[in-house]
Amino acid sequence: MSQVTSHTDPILELRDVRMHFPVTHGFLFKRHVGTVKAVDGVTLILRRGEVLGLVGESGCGKSTLARTIMQLVPTTAGAVVLEGKNLTAGSAAEVHAIRRDLQMVFQDPYASLNPRLTVYATLAEPLLFHRVCQPAAVPARVAELMRVVGLAPRLVRKYPHEFSGGQRQRIAIARALALEPKIIIADEPVSALDVSIQAQILNLLADLVRRMNLSLVFIAHDLSVVKHISDRVAVMYLGKIVELGPAADVIERPRHPYTRALVSAIPAPDPETERTRQRIILAGDPPSPLNPPAGCAFHPRCPHAQEKCQLAVPPLAADGPTREVACLRLGEL
């Protein structure tokens, strides 16, 4: 939502990031039975001041990708580069220092706030831990954070259970803002909220991005929410990005068969559209990441799949100046 001109310089770069989890059976004598390739070769650039939407169904690896960016899990391969510094190669102390620039907001505000800490303690902790300000300045800073997210500073002595879901998500956002990060990664921040509350949180996030020149990675499964807030959208399927481009473009004119199905599956809140449109109904469920199909991972559900789709993994290739699509049959569809 910020000016296009501020979008030129990259702040975060993912280079062929892979996150594989071993699967073992047995307790004493662990047998290695397979590997879940949760994130399997993601290359992506996040620009300064940009909102990047990350969409996909459950199990596609979008949350794991967020955790990989945050370095909450050790990466299997590839590099996460923040302003020229490679986080995957950094020491613990370096990663610790960089954490200040990268903050996360989680889906469930009921589970991500410590129920035994008052809001004050929750917001003061990062300030004191990272020595952001003098201890004497903490109360003023906490009050300011409360105001920034639209809560009355007098509420700081309360505990999380005394707040509604939307207010709790505001507190979680305030906590993420406490260290003045450059990037916020929000993992399904509005999925647990009612429509009217969801709108409040979306407005708040959009406003903060604009005012503080933040970069935001917005992870969601709801395309209409993503379209509303994002500048660009990346669509994930089984650990890989299958389509990337400007948000409105991708959602209004999807190119990859999976994105097309995803867009057509969203129920429109308009009976006329619902009656007249052709819905693409995919057969089957998303495949298990433990045993992904050969070739293009989407081919067993794809209405346009041919023999070549079973053989080769399609690369994410440029489709016009702003878009990238990973489909072998792109030119033919």
Binding site: S164, D194, V195, N203, L262, A268, P269, P271, E272, R279
Partner: protein, 324 residues
């Protein structure tokens, strides 16, 4: 004659913090084969309405304080347990949001599928199993013969929801109550399940009460929609009228807060404040404190549903007075 007529249903929860009026004077009716959507946010009373009809609420704390729900001559709210059992799972079925917690993890799905048949019909185990197989095939489970022997954890979320639908429909009910059946599913799977519900409804000619918070789901599926707020119905209309000319300020506000209806980059419309605490008495219209059109009269007078057009009723005093 209507299949189901609910009149002034009042379900209250007696808790330590007071009486929560979860459903407070809900009245509606449903024709045979009709699909009725009940839409509302958390705590609006939509699920409690469904559970009250099925008699599934734990008593205490819940108590049906009043009202009637006539289904084919039987009052669901006041019938004997024996009468309720004869209807429930036979002529009225329900499906739930979370198929993992509503299937029994210890039983093969074959056992769970045939249970309603063995209870309600004079049928041999062998015939019941044949019916179960046919049902599983018609809800689109591939390789059904083999899968009958599996346990719920061996199915994916979408497949479990199909199993639950098969279980609910195996007795060919006249009414299906669906409580957020697609909320826990991915959009592509949600599209499959909605398609399946439509298909089964056509085949069996049953009526459906579809409870959801998602206005999008309702628009493609339902004939008629009613919007609930704070335990009451605030607006009922056929789907087209509700989406194209909503009258009640809450319905309008709800529609305006959906991101997909708004151009990108614009600020989303938000409803200020929070839904009311239902354990405290509400003076006048429950939505008045959040309503941009509220006047002094709104907090003084209890609104009642009244027709604004044939088949379109709503409960805003100012709309009824012709001021909005």
């Amino acid at each position: 004659m209507a299949l189901l007529t609910v009149t002034d249903l009042r379900t209250h929860f007696h808790t330590r913090n007071g009486i929560v009026r979860a459903a407070d004077g809900v009245s509606f009716s449903l024709e045979r084969g009709e699909t009725l959507g009940i839409v509302g946010e958390s705590g609006s009373g939509k699920t409690v309405t469904g559970y009250s009809l099925m008699g599934l609420l734990p008593t205490p704390p819940a108590r049906i304080e009043g009202g009637t729900a006539l289904f084919a001559g039987t009052d669901l709210l006041h019938c004997t347990p024996r009468e309720a059992r004869a209807l429930r799972g036979k002529r009225i079925s329900m499906i739930f949001q979370d198929p993992m917690t509503s299937l029994n993890p210890y039983l093969r799905i074959s056992e769970q599928l045939i249970e309603p048949l063995l209870i309600h019909e004079e049928i041999s185990r062998r015939d019941a199993l044949a019916d179960a197989l046919a049902m599983l095939e018609s809800v689109g489970i591939p390789d059904a013969q083999k899968r009958l022997r599996l346990y719920p954890h061996e199915f994916s979320g979408g497949m479990r929801q199909r199993v639950m639908i098969a279980m609910a429909l195996i007795t060919k009910p006249e009414l299906l109550i669906a409580d957020e059946p697609t909320t826990a599913l991915d959009v592509t799977v949600q599209a499959q399940i909605l398609d399946l519900i439509k298909k089964m409804q056509r085949e069996l000619g049953m009526a459906v009460i579809f409870i959801t918070h998602d206005l999008g789901v309702v628009s493609g599926l339902c004939d008629r929609v009613q919007v609930m707020y704070a335990g009451r119905i605030v607006e009922t209309a056929d789907t087209r009228a509700l989406f194209h000319s909503p009258r009640h300020p809450y319905t309008r506000a709800l529609q305006r807060s959906i991101p997909s209806l708004q151009p990108k980059g614009t600020e989303l419309y938000t409803i200020p404040g929070l839904p009311p605490d239902l354990s405290k008495p509400i003076a006048g219209c429950a939505f008045a404190p959040r309503c941009e059109h509220a006047t002094a009269r709104c907090t003084a007078t209890d609104p009642a549903l009244a027709d604004v057009a044939p088949g379109h009723t709503q409960a805003c005093l100012r709309v009824q007075a012709g001021e909005l």
